[in-house]
């Protein structure tokens, strides 16, 4: 089977399952409806495994040929003006690995849900919503997979909204509870605010790059960048603000990124994700931790070639702000799912930040590793919540280690992974260790090495040689690109250049780096230090969560007594734990790495990423190691500086909470002000509710009053005037006027009503009594019309007369 067919089939099968369940789900009932969904995602997962294994066995040339074939197989969906919109599968290593990740995790979460939802779906007045859950899950799998394989930005947007819909439906799954439906609404509307920017970005892509296709857009963008045409010479007047050239291109990137701000819950639209925990826990694991929220990062990865350095800087700023504030808020959360939600936000912040600083590979690698361990953490929390009879407050837990050992230790693996567990020097660690370290390393280069590089840039400003040097290396690695692009290649090629080239031609590498450095804004040091500091905070709040839940003495005996583990849900936890180990080491990173070359190939972007991560790859078996000459690279002191962050952070948490909450309580009182601010989530919700939501609603009321009083008032006033004039010759009617809702308008409305009745009675006079009369008149009118068709000369003469009169009026 062709890979594109397999992938497309894998997308459609959950759709079939959705359709089936939507119509027959209530008949299938519990648990059969879940089997349908599980089977569907199982097939998708099998197909994705087939593609993944096949893809791994292909050489780069074969992969390129397959990708080209996928482009050729696109089909014509619709015409936008004269622009044909094609739909197809974007086939590259990133698609393959992302697709695999989604199907794999989704499969195990489906598996988990079968057990979990048994106790969580029948809560609404005895009406089973069990099948609904799996119906929505299938729809989600369809949408998410569709998003992953889309080759066109428009389709990306379509699936983008569909995953948003699923998120809405699943957050509000317990929709009989007000907070759940509120949370769903908040998620959807907040996302739409981001989509507003996405639409503007999309509009700019269509206008200036003339295509919806990701690859074509990137090519057009590169061309325009080099020739200074298109978007780089355009000028737009936006509300008096004249935007032109590079700024416009930057705005385009920021517009597209707005979508990611919404979906990946970045500052300032991060407020919906914590509320989204109102949904069932498997949903939190699948949609609000592993896959959908990461779609924002995926989007940025896909449109990376359309980002100017300034747009990237913007992205980095947003990521940096998000990862900082959400990690701080996470420290004071007491709801186990809220802790995880804020940690998700913070990790998403890292990914976005990574994208922003140009750590394309590292950010996506972090996405993958995070998906595994965060899904596991959420499923673990699901076990806890299930075991503790829906208790989610970690202050009431404690000492669950003995009662739920498997959950406890898989959760601990998750904590280690997110904390960045690893041993510097031993080149060993879990996913978070490598991916986060890599992002930080790139940030370091951007913050501290770049200014120095820029200084030397002037000396090395030999454009011809530079282009030549790059061109030479491009040719070896990227033959499919048009010749015009060859000279424009960025330093990304360091990422995929043959290893010998990396070690060999050192001078070329320097030159490239210098050339690119000139175009890059340097990162302010604060944007390096904040992520570093937060790397210490993350282990603290995760350990706090784990410790309070599983260690120490039971604080609430009611909860503790009930606690139990459900064996049905073990398997997914175990599999995801293994996945957490596996994805740290094998398959994932090389494949992302493989995709990087083409996916970041734009002259306008930064490519220090390549430089940074190439150093780490020693290729010893499947292991990833930090492997570079000591003393020469920031990774060394970084590795040691951050390498033990997990130990310090976790140790501090364990020390603080080893005797229960007392020590923390003292600390809380000491810093009451800060604690309150964090506890109130830094007042974002208050601000939005008080200003934006209330403002919008007020504006709505104002508009409606304007409608009733001003517009209708004018209309009714005119009518009243007419009637008043008419009343000189007419008689007064008694008016049975209904009491209006709108006090001020009443007077006017009454007048209008009088007129209405007046005219109405005139019209109705011949039709007094029975309805037959109405119809006779109408039929008579119709008969007249029919007769008129048959040469009704007298009527024509009448009209003729009328026309002559009018035309004299018109011409005179």
């Amino acid at each position: 089977m062709e890979y594109t067919t397999a992938l497309a089939l894998g997308v459609l099968i959950p759709l079939i399952s959705f359709t089936l369940l939507a119509f027959t789900g209530h008949k299938l009932g519990k648990p059969r409806s879940s089997y349908v969904a599980l089977l569907a995602i199982g097939i998708s997962c099998a197909l994705s495994t087939y593609v993944l294994l096949g893809w791994l066995g292909k050489t780069p040339d074969e992969r390129e040929a397959l990708a080209a074939q996928a482009v050729a197989n696109q089909f014509h969906w619709a015409d936008f003006g004269n622009l044909a919109i094609k739909v197809g599968v974007k086939l590259d290593s990133l698609t393959v690995i992302m697709y695999f990740m989604v199907t794999f995790i989704a499969f195990w979460i489906h598996f988990f849900s079968i057990g979990y939802m048994e106790g969580h779906s029948d809560e609404v007045d005895g009406v089973s919503k069990y099948h609904r859950f799996f119906t929505y899950l299938s729809l989600f799998c369809f949408s998410m997979l569709g998003l992953v394989i889309s080759s066109s930005l428009l389709f990306l947007f379509i699936f983008w909204e569909l995953v948003g819909l699923c998120s809405y439906l699943l957050i509000g799954f317990y929709f009989d509870r007000k907070y759940a439906s509120d949370a769903g609404m908040k998620a959807f509307i907040t996302n739409r605010v981001g989509d507003f920017g996405f639409i503007i970005g999309l509009a700019m892509v269509v206008l200036f790059l003339g295509t919806f296709d990701l690859d074509e857009a990137a090519r057009a963008f590169a061309h325009q960048f080099n020739t200074g045409t298109g978007i780089f010479e355009a000028s737009v007047n936006l509300f008096g603000w004249h935007v032109s050239g590079g700024t416009l291109a930057t705005l385009m990137g920021i517009g597209l990124f707005c979508g990611a701000i919404g979906k990946s819950a970045q500052f300032p639209l991060h407020v919906w994700l914590p509320d989204a925990m109102a949904g069932p826990t498997p949903v939190s694991a699948l949609i609000h931790a592993a896959t959908m929220v990461a779609a924002g990062v995926y989007l940025v990865a896909r449109v990376f070639r359309l980002l100017t350095p300034e747009a990237q800087f913007f992205i980095a700023c947003i990521g940096c702000i998000t990862l900082t504030i959400t990690a701080l808020i996470a420290i004071v959360q007491t709801d186990i799912k809220k802790v995880l939600a804020y940690s998700t936000l913070s990790q998403l912040g890292y990914m976005i930040f990574g994208m922003g600083v140009g750590a394309w590979v590292a950010a996506l690698f972090h996405l993958m590793t995070h998906a595994f361990f965060k899904a596991m953490l959420f499923l673990g929390s699901g076990q806890v919540i299930e075991g503790c009879h829906h208790e989610q407050d970690i202050r009431k837990m404690g000492g669950l280690r003995k009662k739920m050992p498997v959950t406890c230790w898989t959760f601990f693996i998750g904590v280690l992974a997110i904390a960045g567990f690893g041993i510097p020097g031993m080149h060993l660690g879990l996913g978070g260790y490598f991916s986060k370290d890599e992002i930080l390393a790139v940030a370091y280069e951007r913050a501290f090495n770049l200014p120095a590089l820029k200084e030397t840039d002037a000396a090395a400003d030999d454009a011809g040689e530079h282009a030549h040097a790059i061109g030479r290396r491009r040719i070896t690695s990227d033959r499919s690109k048009p010749a015009s692009n060859i000279a424009l290649a960025s330093g990304v090629e360091a990422a995929h250049a043959p290893a010998d080239a990396h070690h060999g031609d050192h001078r070329t590498g320097t030159l490239e780096k210098v050339g690119i450095a000139a175009r890059l804004p340097a990162l302010p040091p604060i944007m390096f230090w904040l992520p570093i500091i937060i790397a210490y905070v993350t282990p603290f709040y995760m350990m706090r969560c784990w410790w309070l839940t599983f260690c120490g003495k039971p604080r609430d005996h009611h909860v503790h007594d009930h606690a139990h583990e459900s064996w049905k849900m073990f398997l997914p936890l175990a599999v995801l734990a293994i996945g957490t180990f596996y994805c740290s080491f094998a398959t994932f990173r090389p494949l992302i790495h493989d995709a990087a070359a083409a996916a970041t190939n734009s002259p306008a972007i930064v490519a220090i990423d390549g430089e940074a991560h190439n150093l780490e790859e020693a290729g010893a078996g499947a292991m990833l190691m930090l492997n570079h000459a000591p003393g020469k690279n920031p990774h060394d002191w970084l590795a040691y500086g951050v390498g033990f962050a997990w130990l310090i952070g976790m140790g501090f948490a364990a020390a603080l909470y080893r005797n229960g909450l007392a020590a923390a309580e003292r600390l809380r009182r000491r810093f009451a002000l800060i604690h309150t601010a964090l506890d109130q989530k830094l007042y974002f919700d208050h601000l939005y509710d008080g200003v934006l939501v209330a403002g919008t609603r007020t504006l709505g009321v104002v508009c409606y009053w304007f409608d009733k009083i001003f517009i209708d008032g004018t209309v009714n006033g005119v009518a009243m005037l007419t009637r008043w004039i008419g009343s000189f010759s007419g008689r007064q009617l008694d008016m049975p006027v209904q009491r209006g809702d709108w006090g001020l308008v009443d007077a006017v409305a009454n007048g209008m009503a009088a007129t209405v009745l007046d005219i109405g009675s005139q019209i109705r006079r011949p039709q007094s009594g029975r309805i037959r009369t109405y119809v006779c008149i109408t039929a008579g009118a119709a008969a007249v019309a029919l007769l008129a068709v048959l040469y009704f000369d007298q009527l024509a003469a009448g009209i003729d007369w009328l026309v002559t009169r009018t035309s004299t009026l018109a011409q005179g």
């Binding site: 969906w77 936008f80 909204e161 639409i199 509009a203 709505g700 009745l757 119809v775 009209i799």
Partner: protein, 526 residues
């Protein structure tokens, strides 16, 4: 065969006569059969639009065309001239489909008004269909006008006699508004006739197509020197006709008749009103205003676009303040029709495609929404949003279909509402008018507001705990489901494969654009 279109138009009229002649209890069956027959007959017209024959000639190449002289007095030539092209054909199908579904929705007639017999209602209902079909098919402006008026009267009675508590007020408001528009149209129609006579130095014409295809007439209509009274001819005509049509759409500030009419009208009439009658206004833009007066249209594009944007945003804000379910859907119609106006205003292929698609999409989703409101009104006998709640639990099938319908209205991708919106938004951004981009930005914000009012409404009506007063409400029955399903399927089909809908009209839209292009190029330069 050459009379097939005339049969289509007048078949409902025959039905109306039959309804009057037959016993009262047969009225609804006869109406159902006739409307369904008309729908089937209209489906028989698909041929040339599917195989591409319809796009062979230039603008004005009509299918199923039929023309005979009708009134020929004193140098005054009125023809009975009907035909279909890509602008009118999709609307014909929409009309026959929605009318059939509305006739079905009228099945429980006796439940909502026991005072009046069904004969009058169903006869007027069929007469209305004739009026609408005739308006869409007419190619002679005078004929167009007559059908336009024929349609007005039944609507007036259907609202004014079978409506809710404030039916007289609503009906008169509707009547007077539309009549005011008609007067303007009549004046324009006569002025155009005489100017066309001047242009060809012979007998004038009412031909909507000749106005465009006859170079002499077209040039004179768009000339700077031609005048009407003391105004320039083109802009004067454009404004008068535009007002006549915008009342029907309706466009701010002539929109306040619509919420009143909807709130008072019975459910099937609301379906027709929202699904079809509003489209007549939009069709008027496409058939009359833009091809005939492209010069004036490009000069006034800013104001038209501004009205469109106001419609989108203002309508959405008004929705947020509603407590009456039906009034909310009515205001959402105003908001959605704003995209049509905006799409037309920018005068590009994309804009016209988007606007036409939005017309059809709204023609599917809004009757669905109104019917959904009607279903619940039949049971609860009130429409107060704040009193509802928990209906999805009470009526799961209905709840699911309602979610689909309202999400189609919300413009969710994969459903019909999305395509029109995104086409218009992206098209507006791409339009080379200098003011277009800010307008695109403002109207794009409509997507946020739309989500807000629709989701808030869904929350208030369908989500939440079960309420005592709605306990035991029966789920949507077979008839109600059968009415909703075609609209639901079409909403999905148009959303997933918009190509097939676009294919029905793109051929003609391209021709219209060719007419407008020389004029818009001038405007774009400035």
């Amino acid at each position: 065969m050459e009379h097939i279109l005339s049969w289509l138009i007048f078949l409902p009229l025959i039905g109306a006569v039959l309804v009057l002649a037959a016993p009262a209890q047969m009225a609804r069956s006869i109406t159902w059969v006739f409307t369904f027959g008309v729908f089937l007959l209209s489906c028989a017209l698909f041929g040339p639009f599917l195989d591409g024959r319809a796009w062979d000639g230039g603008y004005g190449t009509m299918q199923f065309e039929y023309a005979i002289p009708w009134i020929d007095v004193g140098g005054f030539h009125i023809r009975y001239h009907v035909g279909l092209d890509g602008l009118s054909f999709p609307l014909i199908i929409l009309t026959t489909l929605i009318t059939w579904l509305a006739a079905w929705a009228s099945w429980n007639f006796e439940h909502w008004n026991v005072n009046r017999g069904p004969k009058g209602y169903f006869a007027l209902f069929l007469l209305l269909e004739t009026g609408v079909l005739g308006t869409f098919a007419a190619l002679d402006f005078f004929l167009f006008y007559i059908f336009w008026e024929v349609m007005l009267l039944p609507m007036y009675f259907l609202i004014g006699v079978w409506g809710g508590p404030r039916k007289e007020y609503a009906a008169i408001k509707f009547f007077i508004y539309t009549l005011a528009g008609s007067v303007l149209m009549l004046v324009a129609l006569l002025a155009m006739y005489y100017t066309s006579a001047d242009a060809v130095a012979g007998p004038g014409t009412f031909g909507l197509i000749e106005y465009v295809t006859n170079p002499a007439i077209h040039e004179m209509f768009n000339s700077e020197t031609t005048t009407f009274l003391s105004w320039k001819f083109g802009p004067a005509m454009f404004v008068m006709l535009f007002i006549a049509f915008m009342i029907k759409v309706p466009v701010f500030p002539f929109h306040t008749w619509l919420p009143d009419a909807h709130v008072e009208a019975p459910t099937p009439i609301s379906m027709i009103l929202a699904g079809i009658l509003l489209k007549l206004g939009a069709y008027g833009f496409f058939r009359v205003c833009y091809p005939i007066f492209p010069e004036a249209a490009s000069q006034l594009a800013f104001y038209v676009a501004l009205l469109g944007v106001i419609n989108i945003i203002y309508g959405a804000f008004c929705c947020l303040a509603q407590t009456d379910f039906k009034r909310l859907v009515a205001y959402s119609s105003i908001s959605h029709m704003g995209y049509v106006v905006l799409g037309a205003a920018i005068m590009t292929t994309t804009g016209f495609q988007g606007a036409m698609f939005q017309v059809l999409a709204h023609g599917i989703s809004s009757p669905m929404c109104f019917f959904l409101v009607g279903v619940i009104y039949d049971r609860a006998h009130h429409r107060d949003l704040n009193r509802f709640g928990g209906l999805w639990l009470e009526m799961p099938r209905y709840g699911s279909l309602a979610t689909l319908g309202f999400f189609a209205s919300l413009g969710l991708p994969g459903l019909c509402g999305f395509i029109g919106e995104i086409w218009v938004l992206l098209g507006t951004w791409s339009a080379p008018f200098t003011w277009a981009k800010p307008m695109a930005v403002i109207s794009a914000f409509g997507v946020v507001l739309t989500a807000a009012y629709i989701l808030w409404m869904i929350q208030r009506v369908y989500l939440g705990k079960r309420k005592e007063e709605y306990a035991g409400f029966p789920d949507a029955d077979a008839r109600e489901t059968a009415i909703l399903i075609p609209m639901a399927l079409l909403a999905i089909f148009m959303g997933i494969l918009p190509k097939y809908t676009f294919d029905l009209m793109n051929g003609t839209i391209d021709r219209v654009y060719e007419i407008m292009e020389p004029f818009t190029q001038v405007a774009f330069g400035g």
